[in-house]
Subunit: 337 residues, 4 copies
């Protein structure tokens, strides 16, 4: 890290900073600029170390040089990671399409939806069993009953299932039934949860928090990896901005950025990312253009009867049309290389 | 709620919406505008109900009329709620000052800090025992050992203590030692946690999430209250914006808004709200001007040795000076009324 | 518009609002909800009218029903508008590629760049002659000299040229030389400028302001159209968010939204939209997937010698590669329909 | 500035960067960190220079060390600047209160409002003569007629007047009538306008753009000062965030920040900063607590008949009450020091 001193700092303050740096195990390089002294500190920095120096007398600011994440970075591991979910590799250049309703509402509806999205070309199933929602007065999910339905749908279709886990106490039971455990956007910085997910041996789909920077999101992945589980799939699902026509602003630049900064696969959720079904297809095609490894899409037989997220759910017919366009676009991208 | 139909909607679509409204128990009022039909639906709306209608053919948009929160609203309870913490009433017009270091780092340091802030005028103590942080490589807190130190500090000073709980599994143990349980900004929408906090009989300090709207924040309070615990204290601590000079943008308009929309007390945290100790005093005085019920401030004997949040921590001397200015300002506000 | 009254509003306040509505030419429909009276006001509302009612006693809020824009809306004109620039139609389903350096730096450099991008497949040229920048100490452009070079490049290549105008005083001279007048992001709400651009007979490329909502952006187009010039091309170039890895967050959902809400063509600028040349190609391909009518891309022979925007400029080689991928992708999209 | 090279950069790339730095007049210091080479470049950096190096092979990022503004900075001028408007000094520790309606609507209304706010304690008058608004269909102001009314109000009350100028073509005529020329939030980066305002000899009130960082706002002041006019008054008026209860989020931390970073006076506009009259008084008192030099407040005799900004306008009675509280609070702050 670089420590920028204030203009005309007295010599003793420079020495105080230098001494403290040496105490903490850093090598120190002084450099006299036009207007101020700059101290280069060579060693392992951390957030805590940076903060310690920020308050010493004479210090104007601390500038980090190296990214705070290590295990997730492409510098650490050059080769792209492929996360295997059953027979489906995520990150190997093919597109995985995860589809299904927001919530598991009933056995009949879910099994029917599962068959429909499979026929349309989905390669994995999604469905929420635990649904704590913004309002305490909304439908909260079928809980374990829902997990059993998910497992039955997997038997029926042969497709692996993804479902959300939002509390460390339910990790074990969810891991019993699901193939991929999803961390929802609101839990991206639930560090107790992340740490526990680092101890299981199943892939984790890590959604970006609605106000998380790319760096914070990668740090959340770092939490899981550094706790022992490197099977992390990133999922962009929109960030909060001032725009109100859409529920979130889907940040597709996250796709090439995650690929440049880390070795992890990344998929895109255009359903939550827009909140409007009419925007799902164009944004799904855009995500393919941006180079993502897969999509996660909400589909419901009858969106106007869905217990949650109806407005952003595709009908099976619209989903079917979209999958064809995705496959066509992906084929063109591969031929064009 | 109001349902706005698209221009030139065919009669059958209007009837379909009307029929479905009646099925769900609403009264229906049709109104012919200049360009389109508007359907007034009278009854109890919810997020799920609104979404159901949003996808029916011919519907352009749904406009909610009533706020989604009930128990927290000033309409529901006109009188301002006062939350009692030991002998300290929060919300009765006096200013409560909660102070202490970000984290409990050691018994000696914390007890010393507790005595110092008490002498300077603090009325409650703060300190983190569980500290899961953005980086997995940072100090993670003393955990139960830290809780015991907090309890000892309460004995020593007679001041009640506030500490954070971020996992449902530790609510019981934290409630054993602390007087107020704090929900951190990143957990504001951890609905499992909120629901469990609704079942205990201790005050909950609910921090606003960095990207939460005022409405979402009130809905989080509604979760706790509707689960059985009405002792909720709101805490504004800054939202995320594009500004980089400050760690967060402290939104002081939240103070009068919470007072107008709800009956709950509200305090302000200018330490996290700015991230810079030089901004803490002016923003604390601003918060008093805005009408808050209290402040939560980070104080450390030696900010450049703090294990977390040093840059935003006041020294005991600066805290002492600030408390005098706060008391002076508060007295003027009371006399001026 | 809908006027929602406060709970338990006295009858006289309801009458006061109703009387004032009738005075302003509205028809009035009262509707008694579960908790409050709602007043439907049928007539031509405007921002000013809405504000007038917002402050009347007993009024809780005003809810607009109809969008504030008219001439730009797809409701007003169902057919997609095609804006012709020389021989190039924008909005007819083909992709227009506008390319060139950020600023016209010298005659030699610009003419060379113009030839290079033409050979690579660009269909229009871009280059800034007037460059007032964030810092008063930066290069401010060649001004009229730059315009002449633009015109010479058009002669040389046969491609039409786009350049920015940021002051009403220079509209005439810029219109003399350029084929399309660009309104920069920072001038999107410079209403004097917009009004003057409504009086000329040349296409206007209207960039979205970095903190403009979609609605405000369409209202800026409405300004130009209602002043007499309907040749407006929208250009998404990124909005300001909290993310720092990128200069702006490119909001590609603007592409399908503008197409659904208006009849205007829309292009995308992935150079300003990301600020990093390594993100330009993936985001350009994403924009094609989202359905845009064209792209605007910064290209410089030697980005590390560019007087502005070097970091986001492609080399001619990279541009060449990207254009091939764009053409390939566009062909696939057309075949797939 | 500091140039951070990528991990394992080949020696020749380091030399290329070093050579180019020397060509541009920098001294070069190489420093070998744990993982990468860091190049310290000593000399006058600018945005353009930084961008030039960002694209050289092997360069990971450029880190600026010194702030980009000079003349506006407190480092450049330690003493706080006082801007004189008639007999009113802004920045000398007293509070100036600028009040009046959003727009000059008619001679009678404005002269009456002027007398009312003077009696209540206003020290300057505000009123818009040119009002280009978001919608082309809204009231656009009385233009020169409005300026004459402003001048008449000054004669009548003895108070100086502030009004907005948004086009370089009207600077002369506005400067003829007004005592302070205001740059509106939407024109904060209208650099042609800023440059022209640098050439006049009247104070300029510079509003912060709704999505401007503190640094960009100071750079806008730098434009005016470096063009020859150092009489700049900063005005915080709220930034755009995701919050919808308020029109903008008033960022009061801007007050102490501007005072720490620059020598310029700063006032606060709680009317635009909130958009709701019920929030104006608490936020005005908060701004006083934060240490501002003045307030700018919209007052209208009959907000529900105002042609613009009615919802955020105080009645003269409410304004009167607020001024008393402001004076009381200010007196307490002065006594408490």
């Amino acid at each position: 890290m670089i420590i920028v001193m204030e203009k005309n700092t007295p010599q003793e303050q420079i020495e105080q900073v230098s001494e403290k740096l040496k105490d903490k195990g850093f090598q120190v390089h002084l450099s006299q600029g036009v207007e101020r002294i700059i101290i280069g500190a060579i060693g392992e920095r951390s957030q805590a170390i940076m903060e310690m120096f920020e308050t010493l007398p004479g210090v104007e600011k601390i500038v980090p040089i190296v990214q705070p994440f290590k295990l997730a970075s492409r510098e650490f591991k050059h080769q792209t990671s492929v996360v295997r979910v059953g027979d489906n590799p995520i990150g190997d250049g093919k597109i995985q399409i995860i589809a299904g309703p927001c919530a598991v509402e009933s056995r009949e509806l879910f099994l029917e939806a599962a068959m429909m999205v499979k026929e349309a070309g989905a390669t994995m199933l999604r469905g929420g069993a635990f649904k704590p929602r913004t309002s305490p007065y909304s439908f909260q999910g079928l809980e374990e009953e829902g997990l059993k339905i998910l497992a039955e749908a997997r038997e029926l279709t042969g497709l692996p299932v993804v479902t959300e886990v939002m509390d460390p106490r339910i990790i074990d039971i969810v891991a019993c039934y699901a193939d991929v455990l999803q961390v929802g956007a609101r839990n991206m910085q639930n560090f107790f949860l992340l740490r526990e997910l680092g101890k299981i041996n199943k892939p984790v789909l890590l959604k970006r928090g609605p106000s998380a920077t790319i760096e914070e999101w990668i740090m959340a992945a770092e939490y899981i990896i550094s706790s022992g589980n490197s099977q992390v799939i990133m999922c962009e699902r929109g960030i909060r901005t001032f725009e109100n026509y859409t529920r979130n602003t889907l940040d597709l630049s996250a796709v090439p950025l995650i690929k440049q900064l880390t070795h992890l696969p990344i998929i895109v959720d255009p359903s939550h990312g827009t909140g409007k079904w009419k925007l799902v297809e164009p944004m799904a095609l855009a995500a393919i253009g941006a180079g993502c490894d897969g999509l996660m899409v909400e589909v419901h037989q009858n969106p106007s009867e869905a217990l949650s997220d109806g407005p952003q759910s595709l009908t099976p017919e619209n989903f079917n049309t979209m999958v064809k366009k995705i496959q066509n676009l992906k084929a063109a991208l591969e031929n064009g290389q």
